[in-house]
């Protein structure tokens, strides 16, 4: 079976204008329930603990999903972080290579 996905609205920029169509990843509900628990339970606790231990700004801890000691990370480090996590599961790949593979698998 062959499939093709046509994409012609590729944009490298975030779309912050709420008046335009939203582009959304819908998470599987099981994962979404865990992530909601992270947002509502873990993040507030981390904000309080990190403020006390490391002097982190609680508003920053609350604002970003990914934080280390309550602080957001340098964005460039995220590809390395993701690669390391996938490596822990035996899937050793550079994230930029993985993104390319993702496109091609999607196309077919």
């Amino acid at each position: 079976m062959q499939r093709i996905t046509l994409t012609n609205r590729y944009t490298k920029q975030r779309r912050y204008n709420p008046n335009t169509e939203m582009v959304v990843k819908f998470l599987p509900r099981t994962f979404a329930m865990a992530l909601a628990s992270v947002i509502l339970y873990v993040k507030p606790v981390e904000a309080e603990f990190a403020r006390e231990l490391y002097g982190s700004d609680p508003s920053q801890t609350s604002e970003f999903l990914f934080t280390v000691e309550g602080r957001p990370v340098e964005p460039k480090s995220m590809t390395t972080i993701l690669s390391e996590i996938y490596s822990e599961f035996g899937f050793v790949i550079n994230i930029s290579d993985f993104r390319l593979a993702g496109y091609l698998l999607k196309m077919h």
Binding site: R3, V24, L40, E46, L53, S62, T67, P75, K76
Partner: protein, 216 residues
Amino acid sequence: MHCLDVIDHSRVKEPERLSQLFLNSHVTSNFSSIQDIKRPAKHCIPEHHGNNVEWVNREYNILKVHTGPQGLGRVEVSHTIMSSVYQRLMLNIQEHMVNLGVPIMPESEFNGLRDGLSCLTPRQGLSVFNRREWPVNFVRCNTAREFRANFVRKATKLYKFCMAAIHLCGGPAPRGTEEAVTRLLNSETELMRNILFMKGTLGVQNGYAMMLRYVN
């Protein structure tokens, strides 16, 4: 790929049906110009001089990515592999939640979450619309410094698993630099937060147009 479980099937099946009916190179249709674009695009992938992937089988569902500085390494990628990694990430997320002593909310509570999709007020988000007493009590009951440092350390590991799982969901992902600043709250400068409660699940919005499109 995982989003297929939660969105209406017509959104997935209908484009596929139309593609097979009109766009496949084997069928006769009036969309020959698109077929002409698709046909060479498909065949040139293995021969292209700058190509760094190779298909493993004729079903085109497994490929090998050429990796490393010289492109000599090979890493196999398929939906099966990604699904396997995703399932193990889910297990690790659940284990970490247990280790942290944090419950995963039941479906009934999840279904009752509220969100304001049109709210652009700074500092607003899911945690504001759905405040819980549980974190306040947890902080009050766990005062040991070592426990708190351990909690923060484990939380970061948990976030890593979550980011890796998000990266796998919903088709091609944005760049790591964009994912690193996934916002839970609206901001002064960038308005809309990235994580929203919608359509009975969480949606991660970051304007990356190669993902699925949600139209209000």
